[in-house]
C-alpha cells in the first residue's frame, strides 16, 4: 500500500519540475503564509500522532500485550524500535535512569528519524534540512539535560561539575567546560543539518541527471544516513544526560 502511494506520488510530478524545485507542500505553505519546513514538520508530527493512536488501539485490542505478534505487523515495528533504543539506553545510562528518561529519548529518535525519512519521498523536503529546526532540537536537548542535572544534584552540585576534579585547577577548567557545553546544541544542530542537506543535494542532483534506475544506490545510502543521524543524535543525548545526572556514590571517573 505504501509502495503504491509513493509510486503514485512520484509519477504525478515530472522529474523536470522536481529538479526545478517543486515540492508538494510548497504551494500550500505559500498560500497559508507559513514557511515550508514548519508545515512539513507539522505534517510529519500529525502522521506520528495518528500512528501512535493506531498503535494504542491495536495494543488495547489484544488480550496479553506482552506476547508479540507473528511476522511483520504494524505493532511489531514500533516495538522493535522501542526495544532497540531501550537496550542502548540501559547500556549507557543504567536501568533506573532509563526508566526516568526513556520517553524523551524515544521522542527524539522517532521524531528525527521520521523527519529525515520524509525527504526520501520525491516531492518533499526534510524539515531537518533547515538550520532552524535542528538548532531548536539541539537547544531543547541542552535545556533538558541541564534541567535534569540541576534536579538530580542541586544547583551547586551541577555547577561543581564544571569545576573539574580538583579545586585549584577550577580557574583553568571552568572556561573550557563552559565553552564545550555551550557548543553542544550548535554541534548537534549543525551535524544533523549538514548531513541532511548534503544527502538531499546528492540525491536530487543524481535524480535530475538520470531519473530512472541509477538513483537506487543513492536511496539506500540516504536511508542509511537518515537512520544513522537520528541514532547519533539520540546517542549523544543519552551520553549528555548520563554525564549530567551521574551519581557520585561509587568512585567513577568523569570523561570530559
Amino acid at each position: 500500500m505504501m509502495r503504491l502511494f509513493t509510486l503514485a506520488l512520484s509519477l504525478i510530478v515530472p522529474s523536470a519540475a522536481l529538479a526545478a524545485g517543486y515540492t508538494h507542500i510548497g504551494p500550500i505553505a505559500a498560500q497559508l503564509g507559513v514557511k515550508e519546513h514548519i508545515l512539513t514538520f507539522i505534517f510529519v508530527s500529525t502522521l506520528f500522532v495518528i500512528a501512535g493512536l493506531i498503535y494504542r488501539a491495536k495494543v488495547s485490542g489484544t488480550k496479553n500485550p506482552i506476547i508479540p505478534d507473528i511476522g511483520i505487523t504494524f505493532r511489531n515495528i514500533f516495538e522493535a524500535m522501542g526495544q532497540f533504543i531501550y537496550n542502548l539506553a540501559v547500556n549507557i545510562m543504567g536501568e533506573e535512569s532509563t526508566k526516568k528518561y526513556y520517553t524523551v529519548i524515544m521522542f527524539f529518535f522517532a521524531l528525527i528519524f521520521a523527519n529525515n525519512c520524509i525527504g526520501l519521498i520525491p516531492g518533499f523536503l526534510p524539515p531537518t534540512e533547515n538550520f532552524n529546526t535542528t538548532l531548536a532540537l539541539g537547544t531543547f536537548v541542552f535545556i533538558y539535560y541541564n534541567y535534569q542535572g540541576i534536579r538530580a544534584q542541586g544547583l551547586w552540585g551541577h555547577i561543581k561539575h564544571f569545576m573539574g576534579p580538583v579545586w585549584y585547577l577550577a580557574i583553568l577548567i571552568l572556561p573550557i567546560e563552559l565553552i564545550s557545553h555551550g557548543v553542544r546544541p550548535l554541534s548537534l544542530g549543525l551535524r544533523l543539518k549538514g548531513n541532511m542537506e548534503g544527502d538531499h543535494l546528492v540525491l536530487s542532483i543524481f535524480s535530475g541527471l538520470i531519473p530512472y534506475i541509477v538513483p537506487i544506490p543513492f536511496y539506500i545510502i540516504g536511508l542509511f544516513v537518515c537512520f544513522m543521524q537520528a541514532f547519533v543524535f539520540t546517542l549523544l543525548t543519552m551520553v549528555y544526560i548520563s554525564l549530567a545526572t551521574a551519581q557520585h556514590d561509587h568512585d567513577e571517573e568523569h570523561a570530559h
Binding site: 547500556n91 549543525l190 551535524r191 549538514g194 542537506e197 548534503g198 544513522m228 543521524q229 547519533v232 546517542l235
Partner: protein, 76 residues
C-alpha cells in the same frame, strides 16, 4: 583576481582538504575497531557503539567545513 573566483576556489579547497583529513581519521578509527572485533568476535556489540560515536564525531567536523563552503560559495 576577482572576488568570485577567489571565493569559488576557497570553497572548493575547503571541502577537499577536510574530506581528505576526515576520511583518513575515520579509516583509522574503523580499522582499529574491526581489528578488535576480529580478535574477539563476542565483543562485537560492545565495540559497535563507541565506534559509531567516534565515526559520527569525526564526520561532524567535515560537515562543519561543508557548511562553511556552502556559505562562502559565490552564486554562479
Amino acid at each position: 583576481m576577482e572576488l568570485n573566483a577567489v571565493l569559488g576556489l576557497a570553497a572548493a579547497f575547503t571541502i577537499t582538504f577536510s574530506a581528505i583529513g576526515g576520511a583518513y581519521a575515520q579509516g583509522k578509527a574503523a580499522s582499529v575497531a574491526l581489528e578488535g572485533i576480529a580478535r574477539n568476535p563476542a565483543a562485537a556489540d560492545k565495540l559497535f557503539t563507541p565506534m559509531i560515536i567516534a565515526l559520527a564525531l569525526i564526520e561532524s567536523l567535515v560537515i562543519y567545513a561543508f557548511v562553511i563552503a556552502f556559505l562562502i560559495k559565490p552564486a554562479l
